[in-house]
Symmetry: C2
């Protein structure tokens, strides 16, 4: 096992009828800005539940955060915060709303151009406190301290993070997910699945607790994910199990003491930046071909993943690895997600643009293993066509 | 899944050469009291490493915490704290030292007789901040907010806890465990194993993440525990994996959203209070017979435990349950731990004393499932002879 530091102070409030509990989690005298997305929370009752819980708070609101939260939208929220002397942020929505709220939190206290937080990775030294009510199991943003922000004018999608951005609390009420459309749930399952894979499918550091925890989450996503697909269906335990698995998939626990990768995400972010593809779709496209290209360095873990998660125990190593990867691909397909760029009308000319972009950033290889050269990257993207 | 609240703010600093890091974790101007046990840390280099790390701190020390930490010893530390205006506690040792330090932390700020914290469960409203350097994987005290204190004059062993007692940080350096004697490691493995069982082996709440996490820890303890037994042996990964499994076994994670029990511990604490048996030994004695007595209510989980942890998949339900329990017993034996009271020269007359004690506390049934009546308790203890 590798040395590590782990600390995650987020208070998780999980279960039915829990939104009312935010009342006691936010200081009584706070000036609260509720931040949300396109308005689905107004249709499913979550908006009303939040308003009711905060009747006795000074509450402002800012809606319209996009699925890939946009820098300029965040800047509008920062203006409002300064104008109204807001001192507590409440994100209500999915991972995009939460990521945006974290970025707004840091930006509203940042001296200089907040884009530096993304582009130059300028350190975040102050931030507004924030809480969340999560309504879409996917990104894990409710229990971590990072996020991703898009800036359309520059076609960038960049990550940021700081321990100051851990939510003070996150309410996870699985009932809020009943109304989610099928494709959003499917995206969430894939997102969480690939989060786990990024922290698991590298090489062994002899860390059986972390390995088995990762496999526990993958198995749960495979079993419980599909039960979540039907919008409107009351299947509380399936909703709860998916929600908890997605949260545990990216809160720092399973990455402690092991080697992470994140190459699939790095590539996927560029596909979203250039083509606006859903984040999870990009992951479902990239992961299988990335595994095929890099399987030799990842052989031990790939065989273990095949055996313990997909029950693949017979055949040559080559056969088992290929079956493992195609089972994973089939799982994405079973959720209704296509895994080829051409199926999204993306032509091969995107490949050179993406490779050039990494090259222009001075990157010779990508990912935590640094085992994917720009030539390999081109091969992977070619295979994704 | 049941509703739950989870929050665990402890900063874990895990790995080789990590003790020096405490320097930056403790406020520079703090008056620090280092609390330790019988002096093994002076022989294995941990005492020196702590002293060296805190060269520039105002450091006091208090040694002599017993294996079952004694109320009166804790009170002596409280005296020293008041006398020297100590404002930070550093526990260095195993779970007993950590539990004692937590109790000392609460007691030094408690108004009234600190024994009320134990006997009357008086609320803890203030506490001194504390950090830990753990040297024995077992109790999980390094990442939770509770403990157990013995008062020999009353033959009591009682639990306490408060969110104020979470360590600010815990250093987990597996190298510190090389010098542990075999029986202490074996006790630690059993302690962690039964911690998991208390939170897992009840009834299903349809919580597959928690179930699989629990099984992950049990499998790791079974595989890695025995590799830890030989004192002096340099087997870093085995030490690290046991240490992390023991920490994860009792930090609130696997109990979130599921039904816990703790009946084995309740009974075991009385055996220690009356006879001074090692804590883990009492658990190894009680658990198998408790499972035999209560197996029908726990059937689903017992069969799942047998299948997923011991690979028991054939035979009638009765046969599988009995094989599962006896495999568990065999595991304790394989670690060198005897599981019958008579093997520790404890005679049957202890049984009525223990039953009477629960009766005198007004308890009609014990454990989280409330499925063990005092008549059942007597049967269980009789079977333990």
């Amino acid at each position: 096992m590798e040395n590590f530091i782990f600390q995650n102070p987020v208070k998780i409030i999980f279960g039915k009828d829990t939104i009312s509990k935010i009342q006691k989690e936010i200081p009584q005298d706070a000036r609260v800005l509720m931040i949300y997305g396109g308005g689905s929370i107004k249709r499913n009752g979550v908006y009303d539940a939040v308003q009711k819980a905060l009747t006795n708070h000074k509450l402002f609101e800012f809606g319209g955060i996009e699925p890939n939260p946009e820098f300029s939208t965040c800047m509008k929220a920062v203006e409002l915060i300064k104008q109204e002397n807001i001192d507590f942020l409440l994100a209500v929505g999915g991972g995009s709303v939460l990521d945006a709220t974290k970025f707004i939190s840091a930006s509203s206290k940042f001296e200089g151009d907040p884009y530096d937080i993304l582009e130059k990775r300028s350190p975040i030294r102050k931030a507004l406190p924030l809480g969340t009510v999560i309504t879409l199991p996917a990104t894990g943003s409710e229990m971590n301290s990072g996020g991703v922000i898009t800036r359309a004018e520059f076609q960038t999608k960049l990550v940021f993070g700081s321990p100051l951005l851990f939510p003070k609390f996150s309410v996870l009420n699985p009932e809020t997910t009943y109304s989610l459309p099928k494709h959003q749930v499917a995206n969430g399952v894939v997102d969480a699945f690939v989060h786990v894979m990024e922290q698991y499918l590298t090489y062994s550091t002899n860390a059986p607790v972390q390995d088995r925890f990762a496999e526990s989450l993958l198995l749960t996503l495979i079993e419980e994910g599909p039960k979540n697909i039907t919008a409107g269906e009351v299947n509380y335990d399936a909703r709860a199990n998916l929600m908890w698995a997605a949260t545990m998939a990216l809160n720092g626990l399973i990455s402690s003491g092991v080697q992470s990768d994140w190459a699939t995400h790095l590539i996927g972010h560029e596909l979203t930046a250039f083509h606006g593809l859903d984040h999870a779709v990009t992951l479902a496209i990239v992961l299988p071909e990335l595994l095929r290209k890099t399987k030799n360095k990842r052989k031990e873990k790939l065989l273990q993943f095949g055996s313990r998660v997909w029950n693949i125990n017979h055949g040559t190593e080559e056969e088992r690895m290929e079956l493992t990867i195609s089972k994973t691909e089939d799982f994405f397909h079973s959720l209704g997600i296509k895994t080829k760029l051409s199926e999204y009308n993306i032509s091969p000319d995107t490949i050179d643009r993406i490779v050039e972009r990494f090259d222009s950033r001075g990157m010779k290889a990508i990912g935590g293993l640094q085992d994917i050269s720009l030539v390999d990257l081109k091969d992977i993207l070619n295979a994704c066509i």
